[in-house]
Symmetry: C2
Subunit: 326 residues, 2 copies
């Protein structure tokens, strides 16, 4: 056990899964306030580690990409709270949490604007070929080959937002400034916006030049963007995904991109991260980023403050800062 951890034995215990990126960055700050249990530093298999160290631990901290299935939750008999750094909760077994009465505090909207910024950045990049142009210049092709293929204008384009939550609304606000026409699909119509609502995802795709995927991953949204939706989006259509990889049927997406059945994609998320289908590496009409839509210094500071705020509230019997309803 590290010296810093020894000193903190009197502090309240938090078991960390993943660990979340914010934990890696603010490790010292977290460890000065809580006794952080780090199973990945132990040679023990996880079940044995939990059995020996975490039977009285009341709080777990996890990221949005670290699964917390019922089998793991079952090994934490004292668990009362899960703090997730993400807004999405698809990685946690919510049925088991409901059954046990375990509360969840999530990342709320801390990351929404950064995710929206990246979504717009990916869309401009794909439509205006920025990453491809950057490659062209760096490979020394400009003097040899001259004029670069034309991109697509953003203004006047119909952009279909899939999931008009806090991220989708931020994306829409930005794209309005570019002169785009906004459409959306969501569980229900939002009466506070004037964007065109489509209750049917196929109809939204057919009416849109671009789809931006901003919805949570649930059983209802898994593979919602299937081959039919992609074909409805069409040969000139672009797709941006900053939600979760599995909202799109990735095999079909790869096939549509390879066969130019859609025009391009900007993808921050994938079905089997960090594995990315290598067929995509060959394609000039896609921009790939390593699930880093939330990766700004400013957001991580905000995330650190929200996580510690939730932990401090819990340990002092005050209301959570960002309690999730599920």
């Amino acid at each position: 056990m590290a010296e810093e951890d020894q000193k903190n034995l009197h502090l309240p215990e938090v078991i960390v899964f993943g660990p979340p990126s914010v934990f890696k960055i603010y490790s010292l700050q977290f460890s000065s306030k809580f006794q952080m249990l780090k199973p990945w530093e132990s040679p023990l298999p996880l079940p044995q580690y939990l059995a020996e160290n975490a039977q009285n631990t009341r709080v777990a901290l996890c990221s949005g990409i670290c699964p917390l299935p019922a089998t793991v939750i079952a090994q934490l008999p004292s668990l009362s709270l899960i703090v997730s750094t993400s807004a999405g909760m698809n990685h946690i077994d919510l049925t088991e949490c409901r059954r046990r009465g375990i509360a969840i505090a999530n990342g709320a909207t801390v990351f929404s604007v950064d995710v929206a910024d990246l979504a717009v950045g990916l869309l401009i990049d794909v439509s205006r070929k920025i990453s491809a142009g950057n490659r062209y210049v760096r490979n020394g092709l400009w003097p040899e080959q001259g004029i670069y293929p034309l991109g697509f204008k953003l203004g006047g384009k119909k952009v279909g937002i899939v999931g008009l939550g806090s991220i989708g609304l931020e994306v829409a606000k930005r794209l309005e400034a570019f002169g785009c026409t906004l459409l959306y699909h969501s569980r229900k119509k939002n009466s506070s916006v004037s964007y065109i609502f489509h209750s049917n995802i196929l109809e939204l795709a057919a009416a849109s030049d671009v789809l931006v995927i901003c919805c949570p991953l649930t059983e209802q949204t898994r593979h919602m963007i299937n081959r039919d939706v992609l074909l409805a989006l069409g040969k000139e259509g672009l797709i941006v995904n900053i939600a979760r990889g599995s909202v799109i049927d990735e095999k079909e997406l790869v096939r549509c991109l390879q066969q130019r059945e859609i025009a391009g994609a900007g993808l921050d998320v994938f079905e089997n991260e960090p594995r990315v289908p290598t067929e995509l590496f060959e394609l000039d009409n896609v921009v790939l980023s390593p699930h880093f839509a939330v990766f700004t210094e400013e957001s991580f500071r905000d995330s650190y403050e929200l996580v510690t705020g939730n932990l401090e509230a819990f340990f002092s019997n005050k209301p959570l800062l960002s309690p999730a309803t599920f």
Copy 2:
């Protein structure tokens, strides 16, 4: 002479320099309306070509990157109009045009929104490391190396617009939607906007987190962004240039980027295009594009229509659609 050109001998003559990209794309359409003289297709040196073919030619068409110096203008004794596809006119000898009473029709604001879109795209790309992240994923580094370095949030950043013309205003409008604070430097204060005016470029740089260069290239703006301005922008500062390469002292920019005296740059333009300083190819904190800020299908169609509109107006003695004042 090609068959299509033979048929068009009765059409009004236009001498083409460059040629502009829009001419390459709409070559057939242009040639159906005008007799387009194409010196680059002739084996003759330009002076001889002009002496033999263009002594009665009244109109020249050029792009923004093809110089039209006094020596060339002098070889066109009948020249009355220059139609430039660009908004900028730094490539034309304006003194000679004034002396001869030659009118200029320029590209007006056809390309402004596309240029503004690319400026914002480059800024998001640099601050959120999109092209660099794309390279990381395509090089297969994500599974090996995991978490990618953090970027910078756009919201709350102070963005200094250098040159608040039609492009600068479009950039500002977009960045407002991202929650940026707008500042600007321009020849004079614009009383119709609430952005913070700085009459001094050094003061603007010192007050800004980001500079976006949107001004025309003139004798006053050449190397306006010098080492002092870059150092005033500072170690955390980003710069985007979609104006002309020579507005920045490129050698100093390269040095500041190499020595991390500024944090990064998004560059669509360079001092000696298509040559780009190869030192930049080594740097992860720059995004380079091949002067393609205007390269969208939609803008080229608009540009084609504006150019033909100006030519038709001239040949039928009507007012030009986009007469330039200079």
